[in-house]
Amino acid sequence: MAAAADSSGDGGTSSGEKTIVLVSSDNSARFEVREAAALLSQTVRRMIDEAGADASGDGITLPDVDAKTLAKVLEYCNKHAPASSSSSAAEAAPPAEGEEDLERFDREFVRVDMGTLYSLVTAASYLKIEGLLNLTCQTIADMIKGKTPEQIRKTLGITSEFTPEEEDEVRRENAWAF
């Protein structure tokens, strides 16, 4: 059983690094992660602060993140976690891994299908993990660049719902722009 999360976070480790247990939305999976990794999520950070001394040993349930997505998110967090887990410095401290190594990891990390990408971006937003949010949003942005409106709609399965007048306006704009 993992050590219960505690809010004092004095940044020191005694016999082992502090860990936190995160539980997926359907209660189907429990993940024990280093505190430094978990605290990359501002949402988790807030939950821990709010739980305070009442935190049970059962871990923190994340109602909006399913097991598969949580596993993937934690893969990111573990890689990007700072070496030390001092709670105030966690954002500012550099990650343990080298810059190039991380870039390579990030590139591979987002080579996923559209469904997973969607889950990741919404999870990153809910969990407030800045680096992951940046990475996923940028990936989606890069996917959109260079496409016509019709191609974007096809890729993302969107319908336009424009009125005929709006469509004319869009057509004129795109004729001029392309």
């Binding site: 359907d26 889950s119 937003s125 949003c137 942005a141 096809k154 004319d168």
Partner: protein, 399 residues
């Protein structure tokens, strides 16, 4: 349904991503309220989740695109995103700042909006003598990445000349949706009027063309152009030295108040091309003047003129050694020509202010049929282009 076959289905259906049952629906309401509820399994397979992306997340994606694709041709990605659907359009239009602030041209309407307050937008004009057409591009010169902005075609008439200005290089007819205005010159080529096809601001007056019949407000004569709003009057005169000296230009910008160039001043900014329709006419008063032709500057009262921004060309200095009239074009104009000019706000045109005053429009030759045009706040690309066209046409020459 097994997890594996679900993923397989997702991969197979191109562009159609489902809300899959992996997401626990029982905890949904506890979380993010902005996310739509999941549908039942079979319906979920047909629905796309991307259209359900929360607006704040969509915004994160779109602002990244807007920020990174600043210059043409990449900027077309911004226009593309604004054409995907209503939600995307709303977010993108809100993310794009006007050229006055950002210094970037994005949508066609940018061409009707004032240029940047900081710096100038550097454009160039290519003339095609055979087809009597002029093309405006943004970019340093053709050697760099350029973007076509506007085209103008010269149409000679018995008593005047019209330059029809369009968003399209080929289609320049007045009836087309790409027509955005024109420059009309008088017979002598000494006086010009710039007409905007769309109202430059609320309550703008429309001019009656001579060929129009008098009509009630609820009818539109088929001979009246869809929109004909005079936005500036340009005149050319010889200076005191006659044809031996540079000519004098005077531009009254009817749609821009003189206060626009003062501290805290604003210039009107169109936010969209208002569609010409019968509905829009009743709210717009028809201009009544003693003369049906707006070209005549005596038709305007002098008090009206005082409120409007007036641009005049900066007086060149006579260079004794070079024996020519010189203006400092800062490298953007390289061939001497009577067409070259720099326009400044008339209040700034006193003898003392010469070097520091902001040049609002600069135009000049750099090669055969090639000219640069640099403009800034408070005039728009459309107005700048029209004023430059007048310089091509004027018959007042200079030795």
């Amino acid at each position: 349904m097994s997890f594996r076959s679900l993923i397989q289905d997702m991969r197979d259906e191109f562009g159609s991503i489902s809300r899959h049952s992996l997401r626990s629906r029982s905890h949904r309401s506890a979380g993010n309220a902005s996310r739509a509820a999941a549908a039942g399994p079979s319906e979920a397979m047909d629905q796309s989740c991307w259209s359900q992306l929360p607006p704040e997340l969509l915004r994160e994606v779109l602002v990244r695109i807007e920020a990174s694709e600043s210059w043409w041709p990449a900027r077309k990605d911004v226009v593309s995103c604004a054409g995907v659907c209503r939600t995307w359009r709303g977010i993108m239009k809100e993310a794009v700042r006007v050229p006055e602030v950002s210094g970037k041209l994005t949508f066609p309407i940018s061409l009707k909006q004032p240029g940047p307050r900081d710096g100038t937008l550097k454009c160039f004009i290519r003339r095609n003598r055979t087809t009597q057409t002029y093309y405006l591009y943004i970019g340093l010169t053709e050697a760099y990445d350029v973007k076509f902005l506007l085209a103008a075609r010269k149409c000679r008439k018995p008593t005047c000349t019209d330059y029809l200005i369009s968003l399209d290089k080929v289609d320049m007819s007045k009836g087309s949706s790409t027509y955005i205005g024109k420059l009309r010159s008088n017979f002598l080529g000494t006086k010009f009027t710039v007409y905007d096809a769309h109202p430059p601001y609320d309550g703008a007056v429309v001019s009656k063309s001579r060929s129009a019949r008098v009509v009630g407000l609820n009818q539109v004569s088929s001979r009246v152009p869809a929109g004909n709003y005079p936005v500036s009057h340009i005149s050319y005169e010889l200076n005191v030295l006659g044809s031996r000296g540079p000519r004098r230009m005077n531009c009254v910008m009817d749609s821009i108040p003189a206060s626009a160039v003062e501290e805290g001043g604003k210039a009107p900014t169109q936010t969209e091309f208002l569609l010409s329709s019968l509905d829009s006419f009743p709210s717009i008063p028809f201009f009544r003047s003693k003369s049906a032709r707006i070209e005549s500057s005596t038709a305007q009262s002098s008090s009206q003129k005082k409120d409007r921004l007036v641009l005049k060309n900066k007086s060149p200095r006579w260079h004794e050694q070079l024996q020519c009239w010189c203006l400092n074009f800062r490298g953007r104009v390289t061939v001497a020509s009577v067409k070259n000019f720099q326009l400044v706000a008339s209040d700034d045109n006193g003898p003392g202010n010469q070097e520091n005053v902001k040049v609002i429009l600069q135009f000049g030759k750099i090669g055969k049929d090639l000219f640069t045009m640099d403009y800034r706040y408070p005039i728009s690309a459309f107005q700048a282009f029209a004023i430059c066209l007048s310089s091509f046409d004027t018959k007042i020459a200079c030795e």
